[in-house]
Subunit: 375 residues, 2 copies
């Protein structure tokens, strides 16, 4: 049986090239995980997600526990089989969406009671319940339940919350049933306060997880604040475990975080933006709804190998988006995930070559160059 | 250069096996044409439409002339290139959608003036303008402009309308610029009146088209009324030209019409139903939204080779449709077009084998057998 493991292959400054082994296959890091909230990466066939080079997708425990339900997915053979994604899956704990989507939340030491945003039905998440749900989903990487207060909250509150998350981390660890090829990650909290982040990291390391996530960022703070948190925190995270920056981010966020030693990312931006007419490209963001594209026979990016760029013009995709055609969402989502995965692939190669700094210079130069001239 | 041609290969009773040659390839008949209203078969990649065995798609002149505009599509290389569908395309004349979608219509001998349902802008369709738009779209099979009154209207009105359509047919023919591999079809009108249908057919044959469509059906009349019209009309249509029943229909409509000598069909049912949770199957219609599917690990149809049936359970597709996930529309649309194309393929084989009657018996028997027992 495959043991869950992380192998550090090469480093370039703080950046790391690595490999995570799971029961459902390998993840080359730094890795980007497309978000498959409700058991589908929206507007994508799983075979298409695979073609972009994605090696792992994220499922949302909150959404899946409410619909179709964890017991149902378990009885149907687990989430891999249910959604026809045979490769690795990471699930979050459900805590973040409880805070952002559910109604009438009540948080206690024991856990959180909430009402579904779908039908108002009452549910409970505790560290033990969250771990049990993630086991039923057959998630390769389970996340501890944590509490994630807004980043603007005062330090005392952040500290109380961080310590609650630590105790929930301990209970999550105890509830986690070790199986070969499956892992459990702890989540570092502590807001923008370096001392709290250090305390949180050390407390989690004492509990001993298979990997360490950084939570509570990408919630509206400026990029330099996020990078400063990483600058101070990374040295406290073990070198022999993967590091996952939750919910991040834009291409420049990811490049900056990789250079600071982060290994894993997830974000709804490429998929959500794909459904609203935005394309991520080497030359920065392109709003395909803009009238400048209406007669443009050129692809979004002539160097991109995705079907949207290989087979269709900006004029056509502009037309699809204006006409609210599903194919517009399908093509832009595919392109955006392809762009993210190509970026991760370039980052991995640059680390391997010891050439990350020059890659990053080129990346920022190209991003700042702006979209091609109007046709 | 390829001449536009129809070859009758075999007959079984009134049913015909044939082949239409166009500048963009061959169409085996009887053929079903998926509807690509606005330059996309909704929720399908064109490469996926191709994989279903579809050899021709239909584009709607009304939608395309309003958005993105015929001149724009022409300047971008025509509709095949614009939508990345290199195979044959048939376009309607725009007349039907003007009647059903546009506002403030005014019909005269010259043509029809209307307001766009999108932005209220004023447009004109005449036989000459419609043919010119279809030429700009680079449609392999253009349709004459016709008038299509409701089937309940009294005979005198139907007769006046039918004669107007004949005169518009003559003008369409004169406006049509003959090019190798491109054809123009006339449209038989006359409602449910056998004598008017005969007059219409004979008038069109005098004008001499590359094929003959049957219009004004599938507008709410019972199936036996439609079949009765076909029974009386077919003998007046030339054996050496394709026959196209516009806007039809359900699987049983198509089987009945093929057995009466029709060669071509188009219908929004498989695509539209795919976006509302309905699957067409050998055993009749399946509403995947129904709670009976919620735990069902079986495919929609275990004999179907489409991705929806090969890779996903009823339980999963039920979940997608309930959660309004785009992938639900993608999978059901693919399945439905696959079902329609498999049906056409079976019909062609049965005619070739001289076994159409026994195929039709088996078809009706299986349709009536109903969906598989609940899991």
């Amino acid at each position: 049986m495959t043991e869950f493991s992380y192998t550090l292959i090469a480093a370039d400054g703080a950046a790391r090239l690595g490999k995570i082994q799971t029961a459902h296959g390998v993840i080359d890091t730094p890795a980007f995980m497309p978000v498959g909230t409700a058991g589908t990466v929206k507007a994508m066939m799983p075979s298409s997600v695979d073609k972009t080079g994605s090696q792992i997708v994220l499922g949302n425990t909150y959404h899946l526990m409410l619909r179709p339900g964890a017991d149902r997915i378990e009885s149907l053979g687990g989430l891999h089989k249910f959604m026809n994604w045979p490769k690795p899956i990471l699930t979050d704990s459900g805590g973040f969406q409880v805070m952002s989507l559910a109604k009438l939340r009540k948080i206690t030491e024991h856990g959180v009671i909430f009402q579904s945003h779908l039908d108002g039905s009452k549910h409970e998440l505790t560290p033990e319940i969250s771990i049990d749900i993630q086991r039923k989903l057959d998630s390769n990487i389970s996340m501890q339940l944590d509490e994630c207060p807004a980043h603007t909250v005062e330090k005392k509150i952040i500290e109380i919350s961080m310590n609650l998350s630590l105790r929930w981390g301990q209970r999550s660890k105890e509830a986690f049933d070790r199986r070969p090829g499956y892992g459990l990650f702890g989540i570092v909290q502590g807001g923008i306060f370096a001392d709290l982040r250090e305390q949180s990291a050390k407390g989690l390391i004492d509990i001993d997880f298979n990997g360490y996530a950084i939570g509570g960022l990408a919630v509206g703070e400026p990029q330099d604040v996020m990078f400063e948190v990483l600058n101070n925190l990374i040295e406290f995270l073990p070198r022999d475990k993967p590091r996952y920056l939750m919910g991040v981010g834009t291409p420049t966020d990811i490049v900056g975080a990789v250079s600071r030693g982060v290994d894993m990312f997830d974000c709804v931006l490429p998929t959500r933006s794909g459904r609203t007419g935005k394309a991520y490209t080497r030359r920065g963001d392109v709003n395909i709804r803009n009238a400048r594209h209406v007669n443009d026979p050129r692809p979004i990016d002539e160097l991109c190998k995705c079907p949207a760029c290989n087979d269709f013009s900006r004029a056509y995709i502009h037309h699809l988006v204006k006409a609210k055609e599903i194919l517009g969402s399908m093509l832009l989502t595919w392109h955006n995930i392809q762009y993210y995965q190509d970026l991760m692939s370039s980052l991995r190669k640059s680390i391997s070559d010891g050439a990350l700094n020059s890659f990053i210079q080129g990346f920022h130069h190209e991003q700042a160059s702006g979209d091609i001239e109007p046709f």
